[in-house]
């Protein structure tokens, strides 16, 4: 980042404004938690606030707003793989092994009619 002293002084004002915004948003995160919203709403809202805070840090403190194209392309690729990682747990629902071995084991240890339940679970799993 090439900036003369005058530009830096202007940047400094921006840093303090972002600092104030981050403090307010941190308190808002806790305040929202006190509203006892439904779990899905609470998780969604908290993650939205966290994303706004993270964006402020990245864009202003890390100067991402005025960076070079190379950095943007590295980050774009990183976030593709990051979101793939985040979506990975969803894939467990369509796992063909889901509901077979684990259920058989659980049924056998529960002492019930393990084979019948396991067979049922296997069908559901497939």
């Amino acid at each position: 980042m090439s900036a003369d002293a005058h530009d830096i002084k202007r940047e400094v004002r921006k840093y303090y404004a972002v600092f104030a915004a981050l403090l307010v948003l941190s308190c808002v995160t806790v305040a929202v938690n006190r509203l006892h919203l439904s779990p899905s709403r609470a998780i969604g809202l908290a993650l939205v606030i966290a994303t706004v805070k993270a964006s402020l840090v990245a864009c202003v403190f890390m100067h991402l707003l005025s960076e070079k194209r190379f950095i943007y392309s590295v980050l774009a690729m990183t976030f593709v793989f990051f979101f793939a990682l985040m979506l990975l747990p969803l894939g467990t629902g369509s796992d063909p092994l889901h509901g077979t071995e684990v259920s058989q084991y659980a049924s056998a240890h529960a002492g019930g009619d393990g084979h019948a339940e396991a067979a049922q679970e296997t069908e559901v799993g497939h």
Partner: protein
């Protein structure tokens, strides 16, 4: 300077960046994947569990978490101010701001140590349940990153600051790079706090 590593200060024509800055962004990309893997594990464990406790149920103190969030955000501001001070040729201010960053990192670790101590005293160890296991892994790895940042910042505050007299432009670049890492550590905590303490 012809024997020195090229593009330490000068801009590479192909990337538009100096090597240090390009290197730190590639490193941060790998760090996103490290924490991405851990967050993905958290989602997998949580969605697969029949019951998932709230942080407060496991003895986490929201207010201590909030204090640490504020401490880390403040340290990010002092870090960027340390860099801005060098840009404004004010070395004394730089020392004060980077010193404040170091002090705030110590406060963060002390608060975390109190939290860990309280949990261990009540038998809340990683082997107790899945929530505590992932809590200790996530905060532990994050804490190690804090310690790593403190070592680097401590060096630049102490012996490393001599470079300001010989090569101020390169030293300013180093502080910018250390700052990018420090802001990333702050950014990770911004997600860890709600995920572990509130949700």
């Amino acid at each position: 300077m012809s024997d020195a590593i090229p593009y330490a200060v000068d801009i590479r024509p192909d990337t538009g960046l100096n090597n240090g800055k390009m290197g730190i962004w590639l490193f941060l990309a790998s760090e996103v994947m490290l924490f991405g893997g851990l967050f993905s594990s958290y989602v997998l464990l949580r969605t697969g569990a029949s019951h998932w406790p709230l942080g407060v149920d496991e003895g986490l103190n929201i207010w201590l978490g909030l204090v640490n969030t504020i401490v880390l955000i403040t340290s990010s501001v002092t870090m960027v101010m340390a860099w801005a001070s060098l840009k404004m040729q004010d070395f004394d201010k730089f020392k004060k701001f980077l010193g404040a960053t170091l002090l705030l990192s110590c406060v963060f670790l002390v608060v975390k140590a109190f939290e860990y101590g309280g949990k261990f005293a009540h038998g809340s160890v990683p082997s107790k349940n899945t929530f505590l296991a992932i809590y200790f892994v996530l905060t532990g790895v994050h804490g190690l990153h804090i310690i790593g940042g403190m070592v680097v910042n401590g060096y630049f505050w102490g012996p490393g600051s001599k470079m300001w007299k010989t090569d101020p432009e390169r030293f300013t670049g180093r502080i910018e790079i250390a700052g990018l890492y420090w802001h990333f550590v702050d950014l990770v905590w911004i997600f860890l706090f709600p995920v572990l303490y509130l949700l």
